[in-house]
Symmetry: C2
Subunit: 428 residues, 2 copies
């Protein structure tokens, strides 16, 4: 008895954060990994192909890596060494982002905060907004918006029967509304998270839709947190930035990233734009608090990653990035066509590296297991992205071409046998 | 009128975070920079030497940079490319930290969370603890502990007459108590921030002192957040880790960094240790919540920086790092001896790259201006680190040798003229 107590040690008297206690189950991707490991234990010979986490697979273009090598080497020399950088990033990188990615949109370099990635910026924005704001999210959406809202205390508890948190407005985005919410049904909130092209559905919002969103935010005095992490994949003319919509500077911040366009998922580089025009209800500029949060809670993005970011935005870098994105989009088209040819209803895949597939009559986790166990492919269950994602799988196009072709062949082999067909025979 | 409204744009109806409104004035270092710029406007010819921000100046040893170059190059190849890493870091790096820096201390690699730096980890720990905990800090201390406490809502407002926040326990560390607080005067708090060697005083706590601190935390059921960012500078036998104290695993997390030992201030790499034995009052392990925070609010340290971290901990890397630290400590000794020779009371500088100097009869900002305007040296005013820092300056030893010698000569030239002497003639 004494020994057991000693082994566990006495607890402190520090109360556990009640906000963390509210967090429901595991974060989506650890749970996917857990089930993948369990499958591999059962079927150790399985040649799994992982289209789950949306993790980039293709090398970073050499012109970009060369710039990072050069910076790493320079750090060993007296002339090239640099210590702390200004937390919001090198002015040269902020200028390159402003001029190459927002050239016609009147974004000042000083309105751009360079960071170590969009996920990290979402957490810092939540620290900025604090516990008292109310939030709305697309449903389905990237789980980090809601989870960070829970962590800072903006939400109520998890409602098991609804699969959602109390005090969060879930804006349903389904095939029935072309994946754009019916705003007449959405209550006013302080913050509206909106991602286009959407992760997970892969669908980009049109200019008309975003005009409605900005109008809705203006009418409600809300702030849109616009996530454009996949915007460079857009090729159908849809806006790549919320600032293409007149008036957005007064109601929106935008977060974005080099992860998916340049393969920087592991290098870590992103940015957030906070326009000077954006103000709280007391009239004070949001950008002032953002500067303070960045200076206090962040140490700047790695100087080597920033050198890579500058190279990404050179003429050669931009061309090379677009070649890699075109490759992933070809992957997405192969997946999309495969699912459609098999009778599935499938979406996205044109302006984004994700395909969103409906599995009629099955829950997302059932569909996940069906594909995992029969096709040996890891996907991401749609319900992990919100209640409106139930019945869908997100299939990532981030993979080597031979794996995409293999997935396509396996899907065809399994789902063309009559009992397994996507939309038809299931439920018999 | 209409035009002016249009120029400013309408404000949103989102309330400003009341916690951010509480934050007093600017963060210390932006204010230092503002005053430096003002001095340069008045005296554009001044050859300023900056011993203010504690920013590393010497190149990173080539053996470490070579590893980062290699990783940057590998990212352009199919074989060497890696996307998302596990957020808590490469297991090889976590193992190297456990085995090279905590070899006799029973720290498991899985208890180590690799990060983009100690400042960022402090902010994430505050998200972890949430708004309901009470905090104590050394006074003076690194301003980020208190500022992040304010941001997450743990404190009351700033009390102008006391130069401190309400609901924060300030543990006075002065020459009178050998820079270790009289714990009998300190109220119980949930969290105790403690840094050794202390930034700003440069003084390392002894084993006996840390045993008292751990005993105090145990008696109160508190959690110590132990900042060992400068621990590798210790050479007098004082503990380099809180885990050298028996029982610390049950009451302490430790944050640390490659910034000051390897010159990674701009590369960004640090770590936090959360022992499995550390538990909240409800018995649940703190490490579980830490895993969740890292997965949700963080994307991992840059893979290139992590490759550098592994090289830091190779035999060659460790030797090279210690050579650079020895160089900075020689700088510190030059500064310390200069101030003492001029009649100042000066502390630190033996186990840390900072010297802490008392300016009798002057406020810290007055002393800051005196040194800036007469000696053209930027320092950091002690009062910026807490009310008990009033009357002191922190002088950083992070500089090229010729600059340190020049500072020493300028100080001697100015302060040996009788009216200016440190402790003697002032006030006449």
């Amino acid at each position: 008895m004494a020994e057991r107590e000693r082994a566990e040690g006495p607890a402190t008297q520090v109360p556990r954060n009640t906000n963390l206690r509210k967090l429901h189950a595991g974060y989506l991707f650890p749970e996917i990994n857990r089930r993948r490991e369990a499958h591999l234990l059962k079927s150790p010979q399985a040649k799994l192909i992982n289209l789950g986490p949306g993790d980039t697979t293709e090398p970073i273009p050499p012109v970009i890596c060369a710039a990072m090598e050069l910076k790493a080497k320079a750090l060993s020399t007296s002339l090239g060494y640099t210590g702390y950088g200004f937390e919001p990033g090198l002015l040269s990188l902020r200028s390159a982002i402003a001029h190459k990615l927002y050239s016609s949109l009147d974004i000042k370099p000083t309105e751009i905060f360079v960071s170590d990635g969009a996920k990290c910026d979402i957490a810092r924005l939540q620290l900025l907004f604090g516990p008292k704001v109310s939030v709305a999210v697309q449903d389905p959406c990237f789980p980090v918006y809601v989870d960070t809202s829970v962590i800072v205390g903006q939400t109520g508890g998890f409602l098991d029967h609804l699969h959602q948190y109390n005090n969060v407005a879930y804006m349903r985005c389904t095939p029935e509304n072309s994946f754009f919410p019916d705003l007449s049904l959405i209550p006013r909130t302080d913050i509206i998270f909106f991602c286009s092209p959407s992760n997970p559905t892969g669908v980009a919002a049109s200019k008309t839709q975003l005009e409605r969103l900005v109008g809705f935010a203006k009418a409600n005095g809300s702030i849109i947190v616009y996530d454009s992490a996949y915007a460079m994949y857009i090729s159908d003319g849809s806006p790549k930035s919320i600032y293409e919509i007149p008036g957005a500077r007064e109601v929106a911040v935008e977060i974005s990233s080099f992860s998916k366009c340049a393969g920087f998922a592991g290098v870590r580089l992103g940015w957030t734009i906070v326009p000077e025009d954006l103000r709280y209800s007391d009239g004070s500029p949001v950008i002032d608090d953002c500067r303070r949060i960045m200076a206090t809670c962040f140490g700047g993005a790695s100087n080597i990653a920033q050198a890579g970011g500058i190279a990404c935005l050179s003429m050669e870098g931009l061309i090379a990035m677009h070649e890699v994105m075109a490759f992933y989009k070809e992957n997405a088209q192969i997946l999309l066509k495969t699912f459609i040819s098999l009778g599935f209803k499938a979406y996205g895949g044109a302006d984004a590296p994700y395909v969103w597939v409906k599995f009629e009559g099955r829950t997302s986790w059932d569909a996940f297991s069906e594909v995992l166990e029969n096709v040996n492919v890891v996907t991401a269950p749609g319900s992990g992205f919100g209640p409106a994602g139930e019945g869908f799988l997100r299939v990532s196009a981030f993979a080597h071409r031979e794996d995409i072709i293999e997935v396509s062949n396996r899907l065809k082999a399994f789902y063309t046998s009559s009992v397994n067909q996507g939309t038809q025979a299931f439920g018999i």
